[in-house]
Symmetry: C2
Subunit: 221 residues, 2 copies
């Protein structure tokens, strides 16, 4: 049975600022779904590597998209790949009266686990549809689907959401009592990300094709 | 002598899409400076971990900020910590006529190296000043500086910019010739990040303190 929280493990239990950590599935799902990209870390030749990737969450699975030529994807072809996937939303700058209490308001999801390469063509096809819809919801009905050759050239990894933590900070700065009367302005500067501009049609677009609603009304967060 | 590019190494040489990779110092500096946060990957107990952190670039050094209680910081207390630091700017969604050619426009800097903990108080004090100014330029003149106790509780890591790559994509979708006449809209939806909202004064702010220019005129990118 699925509970409403992810069970904590040693590596999802923080060593500090415990009050900022939670395991709530709903909050995790919302943060993952709002993000257009994630950062995927893996170990290559003993050293850490972290790269941005497009992702989509479907239920309790996270699908990651890459080329079969990419280093991480080649490593994972056989046994799967130990990864850490992190999604971070920067919600604001926390400007305190003291240098020490400067911070950021954020929401951050960290997922640990072994990513496995999809081999079942139906699951892969389905995941790719979800990946296109993650870029712009509804988009997969407005594209030419992948050919067999394209499917073969695309690698999709699945990472199950089992070892997951959610860390966040919100609200005003937490200055020390003795600094409250100081002459400095303190507060939060809210920040928004993934703010869409005006759609730019491809230069070779057939004249007369209107910008579809999934593009003109695109928004996130 | 400093050249205008970072010398490529085996791990900063891509296995695919070579045309998207560069080593230009100016582009790397600009992308690092525009970003409010980076993602820092390291290996803990053999497994990859990636976490967001605030950073600042000073010349050819990147300073990373954390608490001495944090796991990564404790690991690095002695010999330094092998890290990969990645900064990603998502500039737009690339909506192609084919599912396969969907992509993102982005700029991404990847730095590999060993981060070392600052021990010299003067360098640490200086780095913290830069870190505060990285949050909001000029801010360090409008705060109470760190006490000795606060300095001791703050860990700053330095990572020299020696093994660095810059990857980017820009421009319209790259659809296949045979898809150009298809009925689907294709183009780019530009995205902006770190778009500031209205400053929110701390609830306990002394009345009469105006929002300073480094907050009201804050912008990035």
């Amino acid at each position: 049975m699925t509970t409403s929280t992810y069970p904590p493990t040693s590596r999802t239990t923080p060593t500090r600022l415990r009050e900022r950590v939670a395991y709530d599935r709903e909050a995790v799902h919302a943060a993952l779904d709002e993000a257009v990209l994630c950062h995927v870390a893996f170990v290559a030749d003993g050293a850490p590597v972290v790269l941005p990737q497009l992702h989509v969450r479907v239920g309790e699975a996270l699908y990651l998209h890459g080329s079969t030529g990419a280093r991480a994807m080649r490593q994972s072809l056989e046994d799967g790949l130990d990864v850490c996937v992190t999604v971070t939303h920067l919600d604001g700058l926390v400007l305190a009266r003291s240098a020490f209490h400067h911070s950021a308001n954020y929401r951050c999801v960290v997922v640990h686990g072994r990513a496995v390469l999809l081999t079942d063509p139906a699951e892969k096809d389905d995941a790719l549809r979800h990946l296109v819809d993650a870029i712009a919801p509804g988009r997969s009905d407005h594209v030419r689907g992948p050919s067999r050759r394209e499917l073969a050239a695309t690698a999709v990894l699945r990472l199950d959401l089992t070892e997951v933590s959610y860390k966040s900070r919100s609200g005003p700065p937490g200055d020390d009592e003795e600094d409250l009367a100081s002459p400095w302005w303190a507060g939060v500067l809210p920040l928004r990300s993934a703010v869409p501009g005006t759609p730019e049609p491809a230069p070779d677009l057939t004249p007369g094709i209107e910008v579809p609603a999934h593009v003109s009304a695109w928004s996130r967060g």
